[in-house]
Symmetry: D2
Subunit: 215 residues, 4 copies
């Protein structure tokens, strides 16, 4: 039976992916922050002791609170360096993804269009996207597909917190609505259930035509 | 019943998309070059007389023979300007895509990494990708998703013609193989059958981790 | 003596480059629309009869009026296909740029962030940018540098026409002002007078920090 | 008198910039590793005690040895996180760049085309490029230009170390040679001496037409 480990699997996009994959008979371990806290490398290492292989891995974690650059402390930088970058590197250095498997990274549209409010997230998510791109070529040798999904405005608790007036904000979006976490969950499911392997090394904007950049 | 019009639907990637969509009970019109020749605007206009609306539209066409820049004639430029750009513009100016529908553009990885052999294709496919990006924001208002798929080396007749020694070439690829047209066909099917709408305005490399650019 | 041909050299950015290059003793031919009309291939060919070699070439031309996609006619497409793409291709196919020379393309920020108002310009300027990128590798063999400058909002007659209330618009820009044509002219001069050759195959946003995309 | 602080100013590209700026009567402080070691935040803070303002700031530092991903240790990640990212953030949080000034970041072509050998450098230099892009919009308000130069293969001691057979490597490059540090130095000089301010928020490939990506 195919096995999936989903980080940040208890809410938002992670939970939606978990729900979708369960529909196609995948044995899902939806990790919550109690299972693994990627901002804490000891927690990451402990998690890896009992979760050292999988067929499908979903690298997914929340980002920091918005914070202006001048007020970000050394402690903040280091915390989110762990949470958004080093924790994921540690996982990929230590987990075995089985041949023919998948690794999905749930990053953010801020990696392409960085944002002053989300400057920490822009920086470290971009950094990990570079690592993930490089590794996609190595994983390809074992027929493992690496897919970076960069969500724009999605209807999660976090977006509701970040944006003051969601109703007004939605009117400014091309589709006049936020994306639904289920759309990402089902997109991931569609790739896996159809066994699409040649989609790899790619960053996929998932933003309802909101971004302006040509690619 | 959902209706799809697939240009270049009689072979290669177009045929694979056609085959995949038929599996999910879509009423597919797989147009061949006899039905519509996008290098000939009269042919395009004639086609539009009887095909003036659809739920799903797949913009797909072959590219020119490799030709060094200095030998490309004015006639060549104008022919492929029609085939790769103006034909598609004419279609989008005249066809009605029904609300909640999809438009897929099958472009090429050369739009991001242009290629001296395929310089005509690089130019005009990029030009149309710009138009498609702009229009994605307008189509979004009617819940129509615009998805640009940029295939890398795919196992079609054309690739077999373009590349002298395919077996040797495959060894240089990260996945050690060409992509299969069916993977693109099934990817398109996966998006439609799962009703993924928020994926729009995006260009998706489909190249088995072959490209080097970060995004 | 070093010779430069500057298309669109009688006004705006072209004139500013002309003025700057004259300061460093370059023999400038600042072509006006009377000398060469790139929307008319016969005019282009005639120009090339008497201007068949240069040390420095500046490919520069105005763009079309803003026009919504649905109202662009076949005649419009073909006219601007000539003006923004095919005229430049014809020039590069027929002019000799001397070894150690420079070719500058003045394109537009819309090639990276296409714009519904300027959809024609977005498409064809991007198309030519693809050709220019490919050719940069060939010109490099003769130590000819190819530099694509993509201006954002610059203080030209055209910008004054395009934008209703320039004063208000300027307040929305990061630098609270339009760029000056002289800044582009002097930038080009700075590259040439310092004999910077390794800057080639590059697209340089020149937009006062206005674009949002990371690269 | 205009003042410049140049990090990594005692060799390679940093020294070349230093030499170029001295030619135009700029008061250059070319910091060596003895003056400031960006991998050590205490060293950075100490440096900032006596260097707390400048007109021109050049953020420049060497990168790590090539190291395969699986062998990079937590200590390595943290060291280069400091050296390539956090040290620069700390500087920008604490130094005053005078109105009308310049900040140049010397990054690397690996931020756009990441490299398995230089995976650490790809990651953290990209991360800082995100921060730098965001800040360019804020600095613009004080007429300070932020310019990210991304060098490709440049003739420095480091390149000589990284590449086994430089002569053979050069034959594979479009210009058949490495770039010279002086070209970057003089490019920076050309921008400053011509007072080009509207060039900001931009990443400039400086690679002799070597990269393949369209932008």
């Amino acid at each position: 039976m195919t096995r999936a480990i989903i980080l940040g699997g208890s809410r938002g996009i992670g939970k939606a992916i978990s729900d979708s994959l369960k529909l196609i008979e995948i044995d899902v371990f939806a990790a919550s922050k109690n299972d693994i806290d990627t901002s804490n490398l000891n927690s990451v290492k402990k998690f890896l002791e009992t979760h050292d292989q999988t067929d499908i891995l979903i690298l997914n974690t929340g980002g920091p609170e918005p914070k202006p650059f001048l007020t970000v402390t050394e402690k903040d930088w280091n915390k989110y360096h762990n949470q958004l970058f080093l924790g994921f590197c540690t996982i990929l250095q230590n987990i075995k993804v089985n041949d023919g498997g998948y690794i999905f990274l749930i990053s953010s549209s801020v990696i392409k269009e960085p944002n002053s409010k989300l400057i920490i997230s822009s920086a470290y998510r971009a950094a990990f996207s570079e690592v993930f791109k490089v590794l996609s070529k190595e994983y390809a040798q074992n027929n493992i597909s690496c897919i970076n999904i960069a969500p724009g405005p999605i209807n999660t608790d976090r977006t509701q917190e970040l944006i003051k007036n969601v109703k007004e904000f939605e009117k400014t979006l091309p589709m006049k609505r936020l994306g639904e976490p289920e759309e990402i969950g089902n997109f991931v499911k569609g790739i896996i259930e159809n066994n699409i392997k040649y989609l790899s090394g790619v960053t996929i904007n998932f933003d309802g035509a909101n971004s302006n950049y040509i690619f």
